[in-house]
């Protein structure tokens, strides 16, 4: 085992961008590998259900080009996980198309591993019957129908597929959905560094420069040693702050100190954080507790319906002061009209009336009742077909525009529409149908690896 292993994390999400200078500095330090997380469940089910990502092709290609050329020219591994936001098969292939374009443009030759993470529904229904599936957080118990209705289901791979790919001689890895930390934990674990330190370092750097100040998308470096790791920014204008590192385990996590990984959990409750100089933080004391079971996190998306919406404003004091009763009446009248003309009951569609300047952000939880001089009203209907949703939206819109309220003076119309056409077709709407753990026998069984000789 070497004295240390150095990980270079490009940024928190491929496509966010990072300064080219940071990469140059990072390379000059002599890292053992370059990595970047490219996905997240955060932006919602749309990205898992469709062939879309949250980043533009040009932003992704810019980041990928810098990393790929740096990796190949300096003979370093490059590891990208959760390709194209959702990490489904399409995403892996789309990223590989970009890799091939770049290889062509820059005349690069290297061995690539593509690791896929999409899972067969039949596998999951089988596991469900075997009682091997548990809910994550507040997700409801998994029903077979949710599995069969899912358009795509991915599993979050642990380190094992990465290790396997690296052992096969791959220099560039484009992986589908992945535990964010596995991207960075694979090589250090292969080299025998302590699990607690490795998983903790990986957890911090997978968000790029999130723990450095001043905050902007940038890279981060972790130097992992036998009994501690050091975090530093390759950007001379930035400093890693102790308090930020200590707080980082919490981020997007259900527990302040415990982070679950496929084969166990990271426990940072006894970690010691030291600001060793202005810019660098040293961490020690992190523990990894192994589990007897190996569980993979599953994410799945299903179609809920089609959305149609309108947005408009009101600037009438009278309406604004009566907005609650106005909305109540609107819902009641809409219900009746939709039933009468379309024959649809309330449980067959969703009608949302969002009042910005009132309760748009917090909905029924809002406690503030300060009056605004203006309200933004976003109304959307989700129904079984786009046509039905459009019809319903049109009806609600007509009612809203002309509905009477007490002492109304503005009887030419209640709403200021910004656009013609007045309404918008917003297309398919999805939901998370799966957010569960599956117990597996073999960490590799769900993640097929394809090795390709890439030639520019």
């Amino acid at each position: 085992m070497n004295d240390s292993v150095i990980a270079y994390a490009a940024c928190g999400s491929l496509g966010y961008g990072f300064p080219e200078e940071s990469l140059q500095t990072g390379i000059s330090i002599g890292p053992d590998f370059l990595g970047c997380d490219a996905g997240s469940i955060d932006p919602g089910p749309y990205y898992l259900a469709t062939q879309n990502t949250t980043k533009s092709k040009n932003s992704v290609k810019r980041d990928l080009k810098l990393l790929l050329t740096a990796a190949i020219r300096n003979e370093l591994p490059l590891i990208i996980g959760s390709a194209a936001t959702s990490g489904k098969n399409w995403g892996v292939d789309w990223y590989y198309d970009l890799v091939k374009e770049i290889a062509e443009e820059e005349n690069l030759k290297f061995k690539t591993a593509l690791i896929y993470a999409e899972i067969d529904k039949s596998y999951i229904t089988e596991k469900l019957k075997e009682g091997k599936i548990t809910s994550l957080g507040s997700a409801p118990a998994l029903l077979e129908k949710e599995v069969t209705d899912s358009l795509h289901i991915v599993g979050m791979m642990g380190v094992e597929p990465y290790v396997q790919a690296l052992r096969t001689g791959a220099q560039v890895i484009i992986a589908g959905r992945s535990s964010d930390t596995s991207i960075y934990a694979a090589i250090p674990l292969m080299r025998g560094f302590a699990k607690g330190l490795v998983w903790h370092a990986a957890k911090v750097i997978e968000c790029g420069a999130a723990v450095a100040v001043p905050k902007s998308p940038d890279s981060l470096i972790a130097r992992i040693y036998k009994d501690h790791f050091i975090l530093e920014s390759p950007n001379p204008a930035k400093a890693v702050r102790c308090a930020n590192v200590a707080a980082h385990t919490m981020y997007e996590n259900l527990h302040p100190y415990i982070v679950y990984e496929p084969g166990g959990y990271l426990d940072t409750s006894n970690a010691i954080y030291e600001q060793i100089d202005e810019k660098r933080v040293k961490v020690s004391g992190s523990q990894f507790v192994e589990s007897s079971k190996y569980t993979i996190k599953l994410e799945g998306a299903a179609l809920t319906g089609y959305r149609s919406a309108f947005i408009a404003g009101t600037r009438d004091e009278g309406l604004i002061s009566q907005i609650d009763s106005f909305t109540e009446k609107l819902r009641a009248d809409a219900r009746v009209k939709i039933r009468r003309i379309l024959g649809k009951e309330e449980n067959e569609y969703s009608l949302q009336i969002r009042l910005y300047g009132h309760s748009g952000v917090m909905g029924n939880c809002e406690k503030s009742h300060s009056k605004s001089h203006e309200l933004g009203i976003l109304v959307d209907v989700v129904a079984e077909t786009q046509e039905l949703a459009d019809e319903m939206q049109t009806m609600v819109r007509g009612l809203a525009l002309h509905q009477h309220f007490e002492n109304r003076l503005c009887n030419a119309g209640n709403l200021a529409f910004p656009f013609s056409p007045l309404g918008m077709q917003l297309g398919p709407v999805y939901r998370y149908s799966v957010n569960h753990l599956v117990e597996v026998d073999d960490p590799l069984e769900l993640f097929p690896i394809q090795i390709i000789e890439t030639r520019g």
Binding site: D42, M250, N253, L254, H255, S350, Q352, R354, V429, R431
Partner: protein, 101 residues
Amino acid sequence: MRRLKDVTRILRSKNAGPFDLTLEIFFKIEEDYLAFKKAGILTSSYVAELYSVAVNSVCVYFCDDIIAVKVVLPRNAPAGDVACTDVFGAQQHGLLLNIEF
């Protein structure tokens, strides 16, 4: 009397997965953190009432070592659901800003 928004360096909300929300409060100085902890305002019941969730679905963690409080609770609608008002869950912290202690 202090207000949370004046004594904290971070006060935020974010999804912890699509079905849960986490609130995080990081104090500037230990004195304020300890006073807030002692005041006993931020209990599971308080959070449950504020966010209209079941009291046994709320977890409140006081982290002395990092002078921070973390709260975890279920989202009222999962991220991306038809009734969702905040896909990232990043704007649900407002009710905490003016808590006085």
